[in-house]
Subunit: 218 residues, 4 copies
């Protein structure tokens, strides 16, 4: 296995130098994700990460300048995966419904990548560069969505600045809810219905305008 990998076709392929290099780096990334998700940044020692990746400690420094460099890349990388994941699961319904879909998709993503929450939550202090990058990514995209909804008339009476505040509320809410409701025992579970419904009520009434055509939530 050290010299080969299973290509998409299922065939075992010899890797050339460049591929092998990328493969090792990828293993380190994946290992770090697993370790940070499980033990937190502070306990994510290079020794642990390399052991998980199945390479020598020295190998780490062929791929990253230092420990921090990897840690700083962790969140933005997964963050992008998250955005894609959610976008794919957002339909073409009215704006309020789409927001609920995004909310649900977030919880689905956490089930896919259970490490995400811890990585996100600790990043502010242990990977501040990556944290800021991630937050800007998300906030920018999210605010754009809200502005479009306003243009379409689905939201009124909120300024751009208020949108930014709203977006942070939404992100914070997701974080706390998922930490509270996503874990049962060691396993990661789906968000309960009453969480979805509470969010739906709060957001559709609080942010969006009643839309007779689509029917609001009441």
């Amino acid at each position: 296995m050290t010299q080969s990998s299973h290509a998409a076709s299922g065939k075992v392929t010899k890797l050339n130098r460049v591929e092998r290099n990328a493969w090792t780096k990828r293993r380190l990334f994946d290992a770090a994700t697993k370790i940070v998700g499980k033990y937190g940044y502070a306990e994510a020692s290079v020794a642990r990460i390399t052991e998980e990746a199945g390479v020598a400690q020295g190998t780490f420094y062929n791929h990253f300048e230092n420990r921090q460099e990897l840690l700083d890349q962790l969140l933005p990388k997964i963050g992008i995966d998250m955005v894609h994941f959610i976008r794919e699961r957002t339909g073409t319904a009215d704006a309020a419904r789409q927001e609920i879909e995004r909310f649900s998709a977030f919880f689905d993503f956490i089930r896919e990548v259970p490490e995400f929450l811890r990585i996100l939550n600790e990043a502010e202090y242990f990977a501040p560069v990556g944290y800021q990058k991630h937050l800007d990514n998300i906030a920018t995209a999210y605010v754009r969505i809200l502005k479009r909804a306003r243009t379409a008339g689905a939201i009124v009476d909120f300024s751009d600045e208020e949108f930014e505040a709203i977006v942070h509320m939404f992100m914070g809410a997701r974080g706390y809810l998922s930490r509270r409701y996503s874990y049962t025992g060691g396993a990661v579970t789906a968000a309960p219905d009453h969480v979805i419904s509470a969010y739906r009520k709060l957001v559709t009434r609080g942010l969006f305008t009643p839309d007779k055509g689509n029917g609001n939530d009441r």
Copy 2:
């Protein structure tokens, strides 16, 4: 000076054994608060804490079984201070307005105890026992408040379970907003008006019933 303290009256007082004991423990607490707030749990070494407290490292272990024991007590202790602080600043207006007051008071508390946010945020992973305790404290009290509002007719159409979800959303929103808006440079600043107004709109429309008497937010 190590054997005495300035009482409120301004007199220098000799402390007896019990008082001196409590005094040292208190110093360790305060030092830990400062250090964890500034450097995070992971960097809050016993050496740093005792240095900040002005006692020898060995002294630490006369007051706490080990490092973790102190860390676990940190958040619940400050959390109680926070509850008192907010309660004192909540008036007798209608339920929706009280919620806004609580929201504002939270930001005021952060300015009083700037270490709080970091202690709270990291505690989930570094002081899980204390974290759970704190969260239960807050959630229980908060849900009780919402139930009372429902009884009074200020909220309709939300179940108890949904209240719990709502409370987590609120707590998460506070956390993200304060991290985003409370710090400018190194200093801790008040929450901007548009943050307050965005919260007011979302919450009064989303959670509370329009109250003709008091006038809703529009």
Copy 3:
């Protein structure tokens, strides 16, 4: 032995805390002297030094801020010993003879402290702070001696600046000679007669004025 030491009187003495502290620091010093003398600064790892001293690695950092701090103190400390050693062995004969005595005494000192040469020689690069300190110590004292000789008429025709240059020549000469002639096999030996006589001729003729009373070297 870890709890006691042989006092000058020969009695075994319990050490109090302060004494024990000083004793450990002294052991680290002595160990470092031995190790640097034998393996050079670059190979003088903290592990080696503490092993030689019979303490744990961590103990090192209770006594020195870091490895460099000890290394920087090494040369000046031994340098002072050297100055005392040589001074004690310098008689009251005429200036030229005193210079020869100092020269010989230098070689005697090296036999006493065989580590000195290597410590001195490498210090320029591995302990620059200590090196500069040592050089200034020696040069200042040496120039003062030459000035006195000039005042006494034993030297003429040399300026202060030239004295400084002369002193550096002398120090350099000692270093090279000792490295060439002091070691035979692993043992440290006395300077051969022809080295002494060559120095005597060069210096008495080259620096000092012929003194009929004392008879010059021819």
Copy 4:
């Protein structure tokens, strides 16, 4: 460009296998000289040397058995350059004057190859094989010069053994003087006049016989 070099004629020349081989080895030599001169042997890692040389780390081991082998060759190689350099700058005046010329030329060489001093000084411990080789080279040649002067009557009263001692004094003196006076800030400067004059007085009076024909230094 890696496959060719600018010949003296100005034409770009394809190198054959042997030339290319020598060229790479030469680059490693030059890089090592620069690195050791700047950082010392201990910091002259293979990584640093190969980076400076612009080749891969592995390439190093195609040209040298190991790191030490290159280090041991460094000093003798430059030492030979030095001998040539000094010989070219020594005229046909009387013996005493020639000695002063050699002395001055040494300082000029250091300005040409500022790395030399550090390489020389550390070599004793980090490249002992090369160091001994170098010292023998120099001492032998130097003693031969002094013997010739004695044959010519410019020196009397010194035995062969004493010559050897004198030569070591001279070498040591040069080393210390150059370290003290050749560096100002980061730049390498010429030896001050008073250093030259002090050396001239000491040596012409101390070693050479007054020569009426050529005039001694007084």
